[in-house]
Symmetry: C2
Subunit: 429 residues, 2 copies
């Protein structure tokens, strides 16, 4: 085998190919013939192996030259492993202990060997099972604030940030996926779209909704042009791993420079969708009411922790070229610094709501849906859960500048979640 | 001489060093011993030569490894010639015939040989002399609309635009000049600042003005992070050359990706400052009243032409990834496209006013001032002209979201220009 030519790993070849890499063998065990290799990639894009040995276990992740979910008809460059590697390094500096430690990276083979989190499970599965996680909202809120603040011109050396913008802007193909699947496909009858049939009348109404389309595209313009900070870029509940009391963040291969509100909005959207999906997973009517309340409390806490930590960092780590302390605090203008912080948080809040709305809509009408809805076998019930999400999503996108607080946003979700189905009463054909 | 080692040109060496370059000699004449070489760089940064021969004349521009205005204590990388070269190529594609044609580029020597515009003069000098230029506003408005629209995600292939973002984001040192001199230095007592002494009380008031400082920094954040399009980056009236009926744009070495409103705002600001400076150049009281009216008419026309052409391009050349025709016009949603255009023009308008205000303030308080004011020998009169500019600038920055139209903005300038001096009546010590 030529190390300079990319070749996908397999269960059979992995031991031989990585056995001589000291940084890997020292984590798993020296005798690679004893390594226990399992392929566990349930994501949409990559090969993922758990490799166990006498010393421990690691994750081996390898990019494939195409989109795994679709097949080799949709090519996707291997360099996404390069972006994931660089994003993980930066996230680990900015929010230590939240993302997997990297043991080894091979750019040509598009392989990252990293820390294996056990017995953690993907949060999305946990949200279907109705399990609560202590401290999770706090970790997620802190992760957002720390990575998003510390990757921006509020904190970084300007030349370093510009170099990072240049590095990540080369991720053209993965950006294109987000630009297309998230911001464009949902708003017309694109080839890769699919939705639950009972939603037909709702979908027709949304696609005729000019205010929605225009606002969604303003958000797309922000996503494409507003390089505020290094984003995770795919920060949904499938990119979070949890135990009862530990929370980790994985899979930043979509990392790019974009607006701060994008990551936060995508995360809140996935919690709101999980909230609306609960009736599809309840053993009996109302059995998930308490769990739904917990999900809303998570949303409130994530946003609140984000704001508190972002404000703390603003006051104590504002070392970048924006709102320099020399011009604010050092001139006795502490109040001006607080005034500017308030404006920025208000902008981030409105962006967050908008991106949350866009995420809900694309996860219902575009290519990639969420397991919480997909696993509801009763199509009418699934459509009902999804329709409630769409209603919230549309409202968030169009009216994001008129929603006062996270309390109001959650109230809105609660009202939409609890009222009679609009699908059953009038629109189901 | 080693071609691989940078060496500044001189009047004596230029002929020998460029004489063998066919692309240059074919424009000037084959016998370089007959070339007539003059150094004419009156700018702040570079060597500029006019070279004449039997066949014609060219401009030879060479970057120096420091800021010429300040000296070698302020180093500045030679690669700015690279950015100017790439910007000129793109501007010439996007607004053909408005910028100098390039004959030759040497990256190591940081030399660009380009078209010599004669008998054109720098517009700023013309504005002091009180000369009018036919068709100028139209050319400038079209130049803004065409370069700014066609360098954005509204028009470009997304991958090409991302490659251009990566290319220009490497211009760290020139960005730093704008970030510092335009957006930060004016708002505190920075080392390189200077201002007309009679402005002391006005300057003290501005530097204590928290609303102004906060808004100026929001505009700085937009400038640093909002990579909407390739800007000229230094689009003032010293970067425009004119005859009675021809208008050209030069010197885009500060080119970068930034917000559309930045170029337009900087240009309008320099016209407004020229408006306020007229009493300092009038032979008798009121002698420049008609010329002042002409300047305001230029401002109105530049903005109007910009809007009309931007709208035309929006309707006919929207081939990028933003507001795709497939999702708008092709769905019968022409109105949605117009709605989105209206929102974007409104955003650009408010940005334009804000950046105009910031430009006026920095050209009065920071390192680089404008000749129209500097040439007024009577310090009290100069301060009065400058104070009127500062008053408009502060208003534009803080109240940019509440100024309805270019008519209103010009009315404001007229009122500020015509009332009694606030300096003389109360504040002069």
């Amino acid at each position: 085998m030529d190390d300079k030519i990319y070749e996908p790993l397999s269960i059979e070849t992995l031991g031989a190919r990585l056995g001589n890499v000291e940084a890997v063998a020292s984590k798993i065990g020296p005798d690679n013939s004893n390594w226990d290799v399992k392929e566990v990639g349930d994501g949409n894009l990559n090969l993922v192996f758990i490799v166990k040995g006498e010393l421990g276990s690691v994750i081996v992740k390898q990019a494939l030259p195409y989109v795994r979910l679709v097949g080799d008809s949709w090519p996707l460059p291997l360099k996404r492993a390069f972006f994931e590697y660089h994003a993980l390094i930066r996230q680990n500096e900015r929010a230590p202990g939240t993302v997997p430690e990297i043991y080894y990276f091979d750019e040509v083979q598009a392989i990252i060997v990293m820390e294996f989190f056990a017995p953690h499970v993907i949060l999305r599965h946990s949200l279907m099972a109705g399990k609560k996680h202590h401290g999770m909202a706090n970790v997620l809120g802190l992760f957002c604030a720390r990575t998003l603040f510390r990757g921006s011109d509020l904190s970084m050396d300007a030349a370093k940030r510009k170099a990072d913008v240049a590095l990540f802007v080369d991720s053209v193909e993965l950006c294109d996926i987000t630009e297309t699947l998230v911001f464009s496909d949902p708003y017309f009858d694109a080839d890769r779209n699919h939705h639950t049939p009972q939603l037909d009348p709702v979908v027709a109404r949304l696609r005729a909704d000019i205010d929605l389309k225009v606002e969604a595209h303003h958000l797309k313009a922000k996503f494409c042009n507003n390089a505020e900070t290094m984003l995770h870029g795919d920060f949904h509940t499938g990119s979070v791993m949890v135990t009862e009391d530990e929370t980790k963040v994985i899979d930043p291969e979509f990392a790019l420079y974009g607006p701060i509100g994008f990551d936060v909005g995508m995360l809140l959207a996935n919690f709101w969708m999980a909230y609306f999906a609960q009736p599809g997973h309840a053993d009996s009517l109302g059995a998930r009411a308490d769990y739904q309340a917990w999900i809303l409390s998570v949303i409130e806490e994530v946003w609140t922790v984000f704001c508190v930590e972002f404000s703390r960092l603003w006051r104590h780590e504002r070392t970048g070229i924006l709102y320099e302390k020399t011009l604010f605090e050092d001139q006795g203008h502490d109040l001006a610094s607080e005034q500017a912080l308030g404006h920025r948080l208000q902008d981030i809040w409105q962006d967050t709501l908008g991106f949350a709305g866009v995420e809900i809509i694309r996860r219902t009408l575009s290519l990639a849906h969420i397991a919480e809805n997909d696993m509801i076998e009763d199509e009418a019930l699934r459509a009902d859960c999804e329709a409630r999400g769409l209603e919230l999503g549309r409202h968030l996108v169009v009216n994001r500048k008129g929603i006062n607080s996270i309390i109001c946003a959650n109230d809105l979700a609660r009202v939409i979640g609890q009222r009679n189905s609009t699908l059953k009463s009038g629109e189901k054909q």
